[in-house]
């Protein structure tokens, strides 16, 4: 009885809980304030899209969750435990493909499974089927240098999807280098697989259309320093119709907000409003 209670509790706890995270990078002239007071919770199984202008700290936040960057201050909890380092419980797609040049496409996708000592036959089967899904079945035995840029990105996505025990997928603009038609196909595959076996996805993108199509919730970040802007809940049922009025209304709302948040005078207005309160 108690154990069931525990399980239920952990189902309700957010998978990620970030509290007052600040991060500074050492730049050429002093320190760059990449993230400022970022607090946020990601509920289990949520598909969260993060958008925001270039340089607002989206990749930095993703790397902190991946365990690759230690925040300058604040805490980030993964399943209520501090993140001590990277690991295969989180699948990651970097902004650049970061493939291993010395492994074939298939071997790249198998990498995570091989490191976890999953039996060879099972590894191969899983990697092959995922490569088929992303449309790379015919180039499985080529080396990365033999692929086009977009194909490399798809391999990177497949490598992350292949991880069997990753409850959390971290994706940094995974489809931005892929042509519009293929991108839509991949978005559909992503949503389909996500609907089949729901996991938490943190998805960074520049593409507002993509965010509205994919997300349960959209986080708009604001630049200099990078911080939480505002959230948009997306309640449309899937699959979403890109031509519906609702879809386009949300898109223009977010676009407008993004323009506003990129405008530095907004900061001033905010500050004035805060003082007036």
């Amino acid at each position: 009885m108690e154990r069931r209670m525990g399980a239920e509790m952990s189902q309700q706890n957010p998978i990620i809980r970030a509290e007052h995270v600040d991060h500074y990078y050492e730049g050429q002239n002093g320190w760059i304030h990449a993230l400022s007071d970022v607090s946020l919770e990601i509920p289990r199984k949520e598909f969260l899209c993060v958008i925001g202008p270039s340089g607002c700290g989206k990749s930095t936040f993703l790397k902190i969750i991946a365990g690759l960057v230690q925040p300058s201050s604040g805490t980030v909890l993964l399943n209520e435990a501090p993140i001590l380092g990277p690991g295969p419980d989180r699948g990651i797609v970097f902004q650049e493909p970061a493939l291993f040049a010395w492994r074939t496409v298939l071997e790249n996708v198998e990498f995570g499974l091989q490191m976890q000592k999953i039996p060879k036959a099972e590894t191969r089967k899983r990697a092959q089927s995922i490569l088929e899904i992303v449309g790379l079945g015919h180039v499985m035995n080529l080396y990365p240098y033999q692929l086009s840029g977009g194909m490399r990105h798809r391999v990177a996505v497949a490598r992350a999807w292949a991880l069997p025990n990753a409850d959390l997928l971290l994706m940094d603009e995974p489809f931005s280098a892929i042509d519009a038609i293929n991108r839509m196909t991949l978005q559909d595959y992503l949503i389909d697989t996500w609907m089949q076996e729901k996991r938490t996805v943190l998805y960074v993108t520049h593409d507002i259309d993509e965010a509205v199509y994919l997300a349960d919730r959209i986080l708009l970040m604001r630049p200099s320093p990078g911080r939480i802007g505002r959230y948009f809940q997306v309640d449309m049922p899937r699959k979403r119709d890109r031509n519906s009025a609702e879809f386009n209304a949300l898109k223009s709302l977010i676009t407008e907000e993004m323009h506003k948040s990129a405008d530095p005078s907004e900061d001033l207005l905010d500050a004035v409003a805060e003082i007036n309160q």
Binding site: P88, E96, F100, W102, M115, Q116, Y145
Partner: protein, 301 residues
């Protein structure tokens, strides 16, 4: 030519000739075409190389004959005949103990043992020190201190420790081959694109797995560069070592030839050293490169 035409000219001339394959439309046609092109390029390379070498031989011959220097600078023909003679073991004026193959084999074996030991120690150590800061901070000063001592300076101590023997020569070869291997491997491992290490650790590679599956392959281009330098150094040192600390091997042969004032035998031995050195490089380094760097198309940055 009108001024309107002018801007198009550079574009037209920039089109490479290779595009114009008459009637070639299928992949097979193109493969054929590529094969012929590769063969032509190969032949051209060989011809040019040969012309260079023959030119050198001609200059050499002229100098030898024109200044009447046969005693200290024998003609290329005399040397080539001697190379042939030695390899055929014809025994004319043979003053060096066992046959030439024995000397070559002894030298080759020593060089390979010294080089092999250096590789087995320097490569893992370089990978480790390139990646693990604490290791680097402990060990780098020691290695830097030893690096300052040229390999040849170890010969007297080696003779003291090991006597006039195989071991002494192998030891100095080891000391010479170690540093280039170590330093290239270390630099390569240190300079790996951090995102590859990040990718490795995010996908669960750690400890030995990280070194074997990520760090080692990513460092291979540097390792082969180091091997090339180390092999060259090993051959140089084998000769120096054998001149001073051995009664066998190609270095010993060189020294003996000088005592007997046999310039033709000196130069013959030198040519043999060059050939063997070239062949070992071909066999070891080129083979590794073919199966790694060239297959993956990665280069040192």
């Amino acid at each position: 030519m009108t001024t309107q035409d002018a801007p198009y000219l550079p574009v037209r001339s920039a089109i490479p000739k290779t595009i114009a394959i008459k009637g070639a439309r299928s992949a097979e046609d193109f493969a054929d075409y590529e094969k012929t092109k590769k063969r032509k390029l190969m032949i051209r390379k060989l011809t040019r190389g040969t012309i260079g070498l023959v030119g050198l031989l001609v200059v050499w011959h002229l100098m030898s004959v024109a200044y009447d220097l046969q005693l200290i600078l024998p003609t290329p023909w005399a040397v080539l005949r001697r190379v042939g003679g030695m390899l055929m073991m014809d025994n004319t004026r043979w003053l060096y103990g066992p046959n030439v193959y024995t000397h070559l084999a002894v030298s080759f074996q020593r060089a390979m043992i010294g080089f092999g030991l250096a590789a087995v120690i320097a490569i893992p150590l370089g990978l480790l020190i390139g990646r693990v800061t604490s290791m680097r901070e402990f060990i780098q000063p020691i290695i830097t201190a030893f690096y300052q001592v040229p390999g040849i300076a170890w010969i007297p101590l080696a003779i003291l420790w090991f006597g006039l023997s195989d071991k002494a020569v192998i030891f100095v070869v080891f000391m010479t081959a170690f540093f280039p291997l170590y330093y290239s491997t270390e630099a390569g491992a240190r300079q790996i694109n951090p995102i590859l290490i990040d990718a490795g650790s995010c996908f669960g590679a750690k400890g030995f797995g990280m070194f074997y599956y990520v760090v080692l392959p990513a460092t291979v281009p540097h390792i082969t560069t180091g091997m090339r330098i180390a092999l060259g150094g090993a051959w140089r040192m084998i000769v120096a070592g054998e001149m001073l600390a051995s009664s066998q091997g190609i270095g010993y042969m060189l020294m003996e030839a000088r005592f007997h004032f046999r310039a033709v035998d000196l130069m013959t031995a030198m040519i043999l050293i060059s050939i063997i050195g070239y062949l070992t490089e071909l066999l070891i380094v080129r083979l590794i490169e073919k199966r790694t760097v060239e297959k993956w198309e990665i280069k040192t940055n």
